[in-house]
């Protein structure tokens, strides 16, 4: 079906939609002549990276682009009624009642100060639906419908008191309150753990089956492939390609679509099987690490229990787990920022951290610190806000006593290594893109000539294509510099491309470990199996298309 020819009365129809923002005399066209249509029972996906204009489009369809947006279109209609000249009053009648809206993280997309019940009720009162009693019943019904068990008890809870999956369901329930025929879901699963993503995916499928027309906004082709009937790829505000999901994914016409597909972690070639485990001594060894925090009621909550791991030269050990699994605390103990309660860590054959009271003094670690570097999910916070790229690298070089006159050469070499141009030297990282920032962070770690780099979710905040570039860079550096990585991530797909060995954590414990190959192909623990299944399901865009 071609969107251009679709002028049927039912459904959401858009023709040549353009959105322009002007501020301070400067105009910026965020969306250029976009056309598509959405009919009940159909799922259409708008796919693109950040800055592609997909979110702006979603807002424009709800009349929420803000006062600075100029919206032009040949045609923008809902069930035959034009929305172009809508007043704010008219828009309000449409929002929630005819088009529901779902955002990504329910923790912030629902008012954090109010209970989910109040939020859903508000969607009803906004359209003067029912009486107090009927509204109460309706809220419970919606929560149940969205798959929240024990709705009666949970209706009084706030989003932050619910698990990630439940709160996302509550958010969806609030969008469904008036039973709108159409839903716009803006990155509905992005911030969720993989296992939860699958659940939400199932819920959205049910909604489609119930006849809702859904417009999915996503950067994740893999996720979209599981759900959408048609996909529209956007880039810099332009519609690049449009077509049935299966067709588009199997035979992308546009090079950008192809690039996007190739960057999908699931599509990238898996890491070649590692050489046999070396007989060399491990660089880093952790034994029986435990850590707990004291709770307000006096009991202790165990964050990490009995974790042991060994990292060998030139290899990548990945630590996988969902949020709250204890991987970040483990990372802090390994970095020597947190003293373990039990167990010990040795690095380069010498004590690095000890649970005993005396422990290992920081001064004993300092000399070896350059050998154990780290990069983080948010590189910006790890840079002094006053410093330019040059200062950052210069400061790092001073750690290993590089003479002043040599530093400039070394800095340029480092930038070259992470494939950044010299022109960024005088820039503050604040002005760089996410990928560039992460490269600067990598350059800084390289500056001190480490043996081990601890990578804590280094690509989670990046666009898919940038993710791929950073992972390639890390891979390349490892080969050239024989680095060892301790790679921490929640995303099995990311790990698949880089890990030699894998440790899966849940509730602070290691539930499975082994070579990446083994664990990924033959997961033993049910949780690992679930993870692998979820990753497979979402990540592999071409393997299972909707029929």
């Amino acid at each position: 079906m071609n969107a251009f020819s679709d002028t049927s009365q039912s459904g959401l129809s858009v023709k040549n939609l353009s959105v322009t923002f002007s501020s301070g005399g400067v105009s910026h066209i965020a969306v250029h002549s976009l056309s598509f249509s959405l009919t009940p029972g159909e799922v259409v996906a708008l796919v693109g990276e950040s800055g592609s204009g997909k979110t702006v489009t979603a807002r424009a369809l709800l009349g929420l682009s803000g006062p600075h947006a100029q919206i032009t279109a040949d045609h923008l209609s809902l069930n035959g009624r034009s929305l172009l000249a809508n007043t704010e009053q008219q828009w309000r009648k449409i929002r929630g009642a005819e088009i529901g809206f779902i955002l990504q993280d329910a923790l912030v997309a629902l008012d954090p100060l109010r209970s989910i019940g109040t939020e859903i009720t508000e969607a009803l009162t906004a359209h003067k639906w029912g009486t107090k009693n009927t509204r109460e019943d309706r809220v419970l019904q919606l929560l149940t419908q969205a798959g929240i068990p024990l709705a009666k008890e949970r209706v009084h809870l706030r989003a932050d008191q619910l698990s990630g999956g439940l709160r996302q369901r509550a958010l969806i329930a609030s969008a469904l309150a008036m039973n709108p025929p159409f839903l716009i879901a803006d990155e509905p699963t992005t911030a969720l753990d993989p296992s939860v993503q699958v659940q939400i995916l199932e819920l959205l499928k049910q909604l489609r089956a119930a006849g809702h027309g859904i417009l999915i906004i996503s950067h994740d082709l893999g996720f979209v492939s599981r759900l959408a009937d048609r996909v529209i790829v956007m880039h810099h505000g332009h519609m690049i390609e449009e077509g049935r999901t299966a067709d588009l994914l199997s035979a992308p016409r546009h090079s950008y679509t192809r690039r996007l597909l190739d960057a999908e972690p699931g599509r990238r070639p898996p890491r070649p099987p590692a050489l046999a485990r070396q007989t060399a001594l491990p660089l880093l060894e952790a034994h029986n690490l435990s850590f707990s925090i004291k709770q307000q009621d006096g009991t202790r909550k165990h964050i990490v229990q009995d974790i042991s791991l060994s990292l060998f030269p030139g290899r990548t050990l990945a630590l996988i787990g969902e949020s709250g699994s204890g991987k970040t605390s483990t990372a802090r103990m390994i970095m020597g920022f947190q003293k373990p309660e039990t167990g010990f860590i040795d690095f380069l054959g010498e004590p690095w951290s000890r649970s005993e009271k005396a422990g290992v003094p920081e001064s004993a670690r300092r000399g070896r610190r350059p050998r154990l570097a780290a990069i983080y999910q948010d590189p910006l916070s790890s840079f002094d806000p006053r410093w330019t790229v040059q200062t950052i690298l210069d400061d790092a070089l001073s750690v290993i006593h590089v003479p002043k006159q040599e530093r400039m050469t070394r800095i340029r070499a480092l930038l070259d290594q992470v494939r950044l141009p010299d022109t960024l030297l005088s820039k503050n990282p604040l002005l760089l893109s996410g990928g560039q920032r992460q490269r600067v962070a990598i350059a800084r770690t390289l500056a001190v000539e480490p043996s081990v780099i601890l990578c804590d979710e280094p690509v989670s905040a990046l666009d898919v294509s940038v993710q791929a570039q950073i992972l390639d860079l890390l891979d390349d550096l490892q080969k050239r510099l024989r680095l060892s990585y301790l790679f921490i991530s929640h995303d099995l797909n990311v790990v698949r491309n880089i890990a030699d060995d894998l440790i899966v954590m849940q509730h602070g414990r290691i539930i499975e470990s082994g070579t990446a190959q083994d664990v990924l192909t033959h997961p033993r623990h049910p949780f690992t199996q679930e993870l692998v299944a979820a990753a497979h399901l979402i990540g592999d865009a071409t393997s299972s298309l909707p029929s």
Partner: protein, 288 residues
């Protein structure tokens, strides 16, 4: 600013309205005023001719006019001249008090923020206790010890204002201490001395600078409220708070004696606030 920042691609439903031109006009006016103020403090003769102290009882209570643009006070002294000459003592009091306040604040906030868990807890308590003494009340108590006059006024206001600034700086220093870049520097293997010198001090200096810039106006107000109660700079000092206080009996007959010193205080407060805000925005959004 990068191009993407000006776009409402983030979740801004209604982008903030910023009038960049207006903001800079405000800043320019503030800087102009502060320049004049400093000039008046350093070389008052350039801005006002005449002697701020010589009285002319016959010309007392002259309304603003050609001869005296802001009128004369109860002793026939020219208000404009006195305001200009008063800039010095008002600024000295303002800057002196804020410097003292910040030093006292620092002497608590630094060990509190960087001196370990016990010190942190202790300092937290100290601030909790000190904070229950309102600035003016504390300063009032201190005037009982230090009597009055310019120097005692600086001491009273400086110490009185210290808890507020101390708590603010303490909080900001804690943020800095826990900042990612400090941990990053540690993980690179930098020594504590290096971290202190390259990160902690320069970064702590920023909130200090902002507090200082904004504080001058505030301490001038506090000091003038003590002057107002008769505890200020001794006569014939042309200190604004005292001038204002002395004029209030004549407000019905000669409003200008009270009005203009107040305007000077308000303008100073506005100018320092504008400058402080600019510094804050500047530090938050870009690098130096």
């Amino acid at each position: 600013m990068s191009a993407t920042n000006s776009l409402p691609l983030s979740l801004k439903a209604y982008p903030r309205l910023r009038l960049p031109a207006g903001k800079h006009i405000g800043l320019a006016l503030a800087l102009l005023y502060l320049t004049l103020l400093i000039l008046a403090a350093i070389a008052p003769h350039l801005l006002a001719h005449g002697n701020p102290y010589s009285i002319a009882p016959r010309e007392a209570f002259t309304a603003p006019g050609w001869q005296h643009p802001l009128g004369t006070d109860q002793s026939g002294r020219d208000m404009w001249t006195r305001l200009i000459f008063g800039a010095r003592s008002s600024l000295v009091i303002g800057i002196g008090s804020i410097l003292l306040a910040l030093s006292v604040a620092l002497s608590l906030a630094i060990p509190g923020a960087f001196g370990g868990a016990v010190a942190e807890q202790c300092v937290k308590w100290i601030f909790e206790i000190l904070f229950s003494f309102p600035t003016v009340v504390l300063a009032l108590l201190l005037t009982a010890i230090f009597s009055s006059g310019t120097f005692p006024l600086i001491v009273a206001v400086g110490i009185g204002a210290a808890p507020g600034y101390g708590r603010m700086l303490f909080g900001q220093f804690l943020t800095i201490r826990h900042a990612g870049f400090i941990e990053a520097a540690r993980s690179l293997g930098h020594s504590p001395a290096h971290i202190l010198r390259r990160h902690l001090v320069p970064n702590a200096f920023r909130p200090l600078l902002i507090a200082g810039a904004m504080g001058v106006g505030q301490t001038i107000i506090w000091a003038s409220s003590l002057s107002f109660l008769g505890l200020g700079a001794p006569p014939p000092a042309a200190e604004w708070g005292t001038m204002l206080a002395m004029g209030r009996d004549y407000i019905a007959e000669a409003w200008w004696i009270t009005f203009f010193p107040g305007v000077a205080i308000v303008l100073t407060m506005l100018a320092t606030t504008t400058l402080g805000r600019f510094l804050k925005n500047h530090f938050e959004t870009s690098s130096s």
